[in-house]
């Protein structure tokens, strides 16, 4: 493992915060997986485990007035945005206290105040929504930037191309982040992508591009920040491909038999959490401190679990509520 040792106390504490967020995501999802296996969570549950450094690093480059648009694999992005785990877990449980009041579920986390713009379940469909949010920022002459996450599977659908083209011709303040985890459900990238590196598609739209490995959280942050700053300066969108890996199947119902144990083990050696912890230790943080941090997070997750479990289901009157918004 090639490690970048944090050199000063500021970069140590920064990395420690990133580590905290990544552990929070992992433990949240491990708890969610457990809840799913005992039937407390229904539907699909797509876990982010293994990809934590991408969401945490990317979102670290944003200010609170920037926007995030996510996919059906949205837990990690929401937690990295700073959303409290309790309403997120409650949403998974379909409870009234959920972040989308139980109407959304795993794939549809929304938090308007946090500028967390969903949780979208149609692959690639949200890419032009992100461009639309960025369009609104430009329309209002606000300097907010929108980050849009999607997988490499989304890069083949028309919505990707239309969204990128429109963002490019109008120089919209948006950063498109392709989290390439190498499998679109069970289809490996070599069977789906004519050109393996998604980021080179930026050339087709005269767009800035970048390509990075997604196991080093500070590196992700540094690269994404370049693109965010570019967008904020009015110089248009960037397409970034971040190479990453999901340790679990596509969803909880996928045993992931399309890949080998050797491949999975090789990627697990590049676990971004392990890496960050190793770097923190090299930077002088004692293992006991990190153990304590993990225990504290586990406590927080246990509380979120209990909160979700003890929360009421939505009132039946909610069935018809929200189909239409109140009049202006």
């Amino acid at each position: 493992m090639v490690s970048s040792i944090p050199k000063d106390s500021q970069s140590v504490s920064e990395l420690q915060e990133f580590y905290r967020q990544m552990v929070l995501i992992r433990k949240f999802e491990e708890a969610a997986a457990k809840a799913y296996s005992v039937g407390k969570i229904g539907g699909f549950l797509h876990l982010y485990i293994g990809q934590e450094a991408v969401g945490v690093g990317s979102i670290a480059s944003l200010t609170p007035h920037d926007y995030i648009v996510s996919t059906y694999r949205d837990h990690g992005h929401a937690l990295a945005r700073g959303l409290h785990p309790s309403p997120l877990m409650a949403e998974l449980f379909g409870k009234a206290t959920g972040v989308s009041k139980g109407n959304g579920g795993s794939m549809h986390f929304f938090d308007k105040n946090a500028h967390f713009m969903g949780g979208h379940g149609i692959v690639g469909g949200h890419i032009s929504l992100a461009a639309g949010i960025a369009f609104a920022s430009k329309y209002r002459k606000e300097d907010s930037v929108t980050i849009c996450f999607f997988g490499e599977g989304a890069a083949n659908i028309g919505s990707f191309h239309e969204g990128l083209n429109l963002a490019a011709i109008w120089k919209l303040p948006v950063v498109f982040i392709c989290e390439n985890n190498h499998y679109a459900m069970g289809t490996p990238e070599y069977r789906a992508l004519a050109v393996k590196d998604v980021s080179v598609r930026a050339y087709a739209y005269d767009m800035a591009r970048d390509h990075i490995e997604g196991d080093e959280v500070r590196k992700v942050r540094d690269h994404v920040k370049v693109a965010v700053d570019r967008a904020r300066r009015g110089e248009g969108p960037t397409l970034i491909e971040v190479s990453t890996y999901r340790f679990r199947g596509h969803s909880m119902s996928d045993p992931a038999k399309y890949r080998t144990k050797e491949e999975l083990d090789a990627y697990k050696k590049k676990d971004p959490l392990m890496r960050a912890r190793h770097e923190l230790e090299l930077g002088g943080i004692k293992p006991e401190v990190l153990d304590k941090l993990e225990i504290d997070i586990q406590t927080q997750i246990d509380e979120a679990y209990a909160f979700a479990e003890n929360s009421p289901e939505p009132p039946l009157s909610q069935l018809h509520k929200y189909v239409y918004a109140e009049d202006k």
């Binding site: 139980g102 109407n103 713009m117 969903g118 032009s128 209002r140 919505s159 011709i169």
Partner: protein, 324 residues
């Protein structure tokens, strides 16, 4: 009262609303420099500039999504589809994003967006450019569906649609763009969900909307000469639906027929027919009938197109049968 064309009435509604609210913008193919493929946005680029009257490349899915995204953060887009035939490549954004955003977010994201443009069948445009899609959109909760038949209604309904905080499917009739009618000079709106009796009668109720209103009116004139008195209910919007207006009319006439431009199978007329038999069954002297387009894609051949489309004679014939 001024006499305006249907397209002028729509133009006036958009211009007035955009003058009042800077959050409203118009986006679509050829809406700006070309002045609108059907000239509905004539003059608007000069008035509002390129920041608010925005030409797009041909990419319906993309710019529909831009509209939805911008509405999530409070803009009030009017998205023009050159024709509703092309909306099908954007239907994912309309149904999976616009219609559901408020619901699946637990009420966090109202969706003040209007999708509008030319719809309907006819004009020898062939199978891909000649079809009525209101039933598709009326199927989906979360959308409002508006289909005006006159310049006066087009103006008042478009203003209400623009002011509504929900995604509105506003289907204009391509054939009616040049039709003229009186439009009050004073500003007014027509609430969505409010139909209108376009003609009073006692023997049978025709329920209709958009261009099919003209078939109904023609049939009513033909039948009047035969002593048959037809009442015409113009729904104006399918979602929300003015159910009571239909029921009150049927209670009076005891017969109902739905006339629509679209296909029969799973068409909106089937829903109306169901509602009538469910809610005012005891008033009916005859099963509810429907006159629709034939259950085929549109042919280019003039005679086959004529045969496929509903028309006044088919309406009149069906009504004569019902009254026999």
């Amino acid at each position: 009262m001024a006499v305006l064309t249907y397209r002028e009435a729509l133009n006036r509604a958009m211009v007035e609303e955009m003058e009042k609210d800077p959050l409203i913008y118009l986006m679509g193919e050829e809406v700006g420099h070309y002045q609108g493929a059907y000239k509905v946005s004539q003059g608007m680029l000069d008035k509002f500039g390129e920041a608010r009257v925005i030409d797009t490349p041909i990419s319906e899915n993309g710019f529909a999504g831009i509209g939805v995204g911008s509405a999530m953060v409070g803009l009030r887009p009017i998205i023009e589809f050159m024709t509703w035939n092309f909306s099908l490549v954007a239907i994912d954004q309309i149904i999976n994003s616009a219609a559901k955003m408020n619901y699946m977010s637990g009420g966090q994201f109202p969706m003040p967006i209007v999708f509008r443009g030319a719809g309907g069948a006819g004009g020898r445009l062939g199978a891909q450019h000649s079809q009525a899609f209101e039933s598709w959109y009326a199927h989906c909760p979360g959308l409002k569906v508006v289909c005006p038949a006159t310049p006066k209604d087009a103006y008042g309904l478009l203003k209400s649609s623009i002011r509504d905080n929900n995604p509105t499917i506003f289907i204009e009739s391509e054939v009616l763009y040049g039709s003229k009618g009186e439009v009050p000079e004073q500003e007014y709106t027509i609430p969505l969900g409010l139909g209108e009796i376009k003609r009073k009668g006692t023997d049978i109720t025709i329920v209709t909307w958009s261009r099919a209103l003209s078939f109904a009116e023609e049939a009513a004139v033909i039948l009047e000469k035969e002593g048959i008195s037809v009442e015409i209910v113009d729904l104006r919007s399918l979602r929300p639906l003015d159910e009571n207006l239909i029921y009150e009319s049927v209670k009076k006439t005891n017969r109902a027929i739905v006339v629509e431009e679209g296909w029969p199978v799973a068409g909106f007329g089937a829903q109306i027919s169901h509602l009538i038999q469910k809610n005012v069954f005891s008033y009916l002297d005859h099963p509810v009938e429907r006159v629709t387009q034939m259950d085929v894609p549109m042919s280019y051949a003039a005679n086959l197109e004529r045969m496929s489309l509903p028309n006044a004679n088919r309406v009149a014939d069906t009504i004569r049968e019902m009254l026999r």
